[in-house]
């Protein structure tokens, strides 16, 4: 298993190139991972803000549509009242 002398420089050169290539690839991969992580953080902060909006709107909605508020408005503003029993007719098909 001997390698001819003239082949050594070639092999060394090949290894050197491979080493440089992997080094560059590591740099590239690191950069990509950072870029992706930055994007993830960006999206997470968007999610955060949307969540904030959503929960605020949900709370707002439930406050405006609360049963007692609707009942109060119906009675005071629209002068509505639940029908008396003798005013109800049941329709039977």
């Amino acid at each position: 298993m001997s390698i001819d002398a003239y082949r050594w420089p070639l092999i060394n050169l090949g290894l050197l190139l491979a080493a440089v290539w992997t080094a560059l690839a590591v740099i590239g991969a690191t950069h990509e991972s950072r870029a992706l992580y930055a994007r993830l953080q960006n999206l997470q902060s968007q999610e955060w803000h949307m969540q904030e909006d959503w929960s605020r709107l949900l709370l707002e909605e439930s406050a405006w549509a609360a049963h007692h508020r609707v009942a109060k408005l119906a009675e005071e503003k629209l002068h509505m009242h639940p029908p008396k029993a003798d005013a109800i007719k049941v329709l039977v098909r």
Partner: protein, 599 residues
């Protein structure tokens, strides 16, 4: 070759025994000292020894380096790397979103919203020239801030303000005061406020459930917080996020079985009744007779879960589930059930209650007036103490206990609510007459309002006993048959009689529907017997009576003043809640003229 090996052996020896080379050395020096420079050939082993020694040192150094950086030894490279990273890499927690709690229709009861907590490193901030600026932005005086800084001067972490609206916190963070940082968190809001506070419970400042359903379903709601690696500088400020280790997992949403609309109605009706009668406390529970789901559950006194400072434990107790009491007359229909089951009695069996008094052991039981001859149905309708006791004493020793036990008294209703009480129903080998008599009119045992509602829903459901549930059940629900169908429908007819003109529960009536129930006015036990002026006013009932859907129990504890009977205080609340419930759940009225529509 031979000389080398010889010198080697000498060198070796010199290492082993130092004497020999030591004796030969002075000889060479002596000759030089005489003045004549004379080169004495130094044997090669001395040079070789030195080279060997230096090589050995290098080898040791190299070995140490290898052991530290390559080999996986005890304190090898992993340990060192960790130690190195520990100097600047930190793992920080990413909070998980806590699931929403809603009512059965999806109305929110507890919602987490993102907030920001401001914190500071006191050691850094103390040196800052911009304390005044920061204090005014926080709405504090400069003195307040410096006092706080002084208190935490030896720490490197203190909260400035927790749970701020993100926009407000952002404004302060924009000042970029050294040592001030924001931390993302979630805060819980309870849109239903006091109306559902006891049932929903609440979380502590760290977003962990500590009361009510928030506690019972904490692990479900909580989710799993994630983590990320960050690089921090000497002062503990985050320089850069390195990467996410674990993605936070949001908690699951929880849907409760209550209907918020009915909950509001019950809440308001109870509040009004308590204010009107000056009662100490009260509870209303409404249960779906078809599956044991709790549709509404309210208590008094209440609290605002969104503003909890200065809260007393008495306000927070979910009395409807946690507090057991002697129920009194509302148990008479159950005693009647035991009598009907024995087949010694029917609802039409006549009992002579004259002269309105009856002596059991040493105790004399009274009716308000002498009712004379009453059928058993009327005994319940009029709530005659004498009648029910006379009936109960003719039953088998264990009949009452057996039925109460079978129907679920003295047992956990099975909601899983923290602190759920099972009440007390003691078993005895032998029952004295007075013990059986008291059991028949609802004393000598304790139940919770929820248990009472579940017991009545056995009558309502045609004899089926469901486990109580605070979350929507999935059909079909496993139920246990504890009463025959026919018997429960007889009992319902008796309960409807209570709301008839001759009964004690007239004020429980709901226009357009036939309802039934039982009033109760129990004397409260206190030191040295039963108090004459402290009552529990109760009403337990169901509607519509033919095919009940809603079972409601109303308890008013210690009403003051002239109105204290269950029929006067609790029955109107029952009527109000039931009327709203029948409307909300679209249950058609019965006592109305029906207009036929062709096609």
């Amino acid at each position: 070759m031979s000389a080398r090996s010889a010198s080697k052996s000498v060198g070796k020896r010199s290492v082993v025994g130092k004497r020999k080379p030591a004796s030969s050395k002075p000889a060479a020096v002596k000759t030089a000292a005489r003045g004549k420079t004379q080169y004495v050939p130094v044997s090669p082993w001395r040079w070789q020894l030195m080279v060997g020694f230096v090589c050995l040192l290098f080898a040791m150094l190299f070995g140490r380096v290898v052991s530290l950086q390559v080999l996986e030894t005890d304190r090898g490279y992993e340990f060192l790397q960790d130690q190195g990273e520990a100097r600047f890499l930190r793992t920080s927690v990413i909070p998980a979103y806590r699931g929403t709690i809603s009512d059965r229709r999806g109305e929110p009861l507890a919602v987490s919203t993102p907030v920001v907590s401001l914190w500071a490193n006191p050691r850094l901030l103390a040196n800052s020239q911009r304390g005044g600026e920061l204090a005014s932005a926080l709405g504090w005086s400069e003195l307040q801030l410096s006092e706080r800084l002084h208190r935490y001067r030896n720490k490197s972490f203190m909260y400035l303000k927790r749970h701020m609206r993100p926009a407000e916190a952002e404004a302060i963070l924009k000042l970029k005061v050294a040592g001030v940082q924001g931390q993302r968190e979630y805060q819980r809001f309870y849109p239903a406020g006091a109306a559902a506070a006891h049932l929903v419970g609440f979380t502590n400042v760290d977003d962990r459930g500590i009361e009510g359903m928030e506690l019972a379903y904490d692990s479900l709601l909580q989710g799993a917080p994630g983590s990320k690696r960050v690089i921090k500088d000497l002062y503990g400020e985050v320089v850069r996020d390195v990467g996410e280790l674990e993605t936070p997992r949001s908690g699951a949403d929880l849907r409760l079985s209550i209907d918020l609309r009915l909950q509001y109605v019950a809440h308001q009706a109870l509040q009004r009744a308590v204010t009107l009668t000056g009662a100490d406390s009260g509870s209303v529970v409404t249960v779906d007779a078809r599956n044991g789901e709790v549709l509404a559950l309210v208590n008094h006194p209440v609290f605002n879960p969104n503003r909890r400072s200065g809260l007393r434990p008495a306000q927070m107790r979910n009395r409807a589930i946690v507090d057991a009491f002697e129920p009194g007359s509302v148990l008479k229909p159950l005693a009647l059930a035991a009598a009907l089951e024995s087949e010694q009695f029917s609802v039409d069996t006549v009992i002579d209650t004259s002269p309105g008094r009856y002596k059991v052991g040493r105790k004399v039981l009274h009716d308000p007036v002498n009712y004379r001859d009453l059928t058993l149905a009327r005994v319940v309708a009029k709530s005659s103490q004498v009648g029910i006791v006379k009936m109960a004493l003719q039953l088998d020793q264990q009949a009452l206990w057996g039925l109460y036990n079978r129907i679920g008294l003295g047992q956990n209703p099975g909601t899983g609510f923290p602190g759920e009480s099972a009440g007390q129903l003691q078993y005895r080998e032998r029952w004295r007459d007075i013990e059986r008599a008291t059991l028949a009119y609802g004393h000598g045992l304790t139940v919770t309002p929820l248990q009472l509602a579940m017991a009545y829903s056995v009558i309502a459901s045609g004899g089926l006993r469901f486990p109580a549930s605070l979350v929507p059940t999935e059909a079909p629900v496993m139920a246990e048959r504890v009463l025959p169908e026919r018997l429960s429908s007889q009992l319902r007819t008796v309960l409807e009689g209570v709301t008839a003109d001759y009964g004690t529960g007239k004020r429980a009536r709901v226009a357009g529907y036939r309802v039934g129930g039982k009033t109760g006015t129990a004397h409260k036990a206190s030191a040295g017997g039963y108090a004459d002026d402290r009552y529990l006013a109760l009403f337990a009932g169901m509607a519509p009576i033919d095919e009940p859907r809603l079972v409601t129990v109303v308890l008013i504890n210690e009403p003051k003043g002239d109105l204290y009977h269950g029929g006067e205080v609790a029955a109107p609340v029952f009527a109000e809640v039931t009327e709203a419930g029948l409307r909300l759940f679209n249950i058609a009225p019965q006592r109305l003229q029906l207009a036929g529509v062709s096609g």
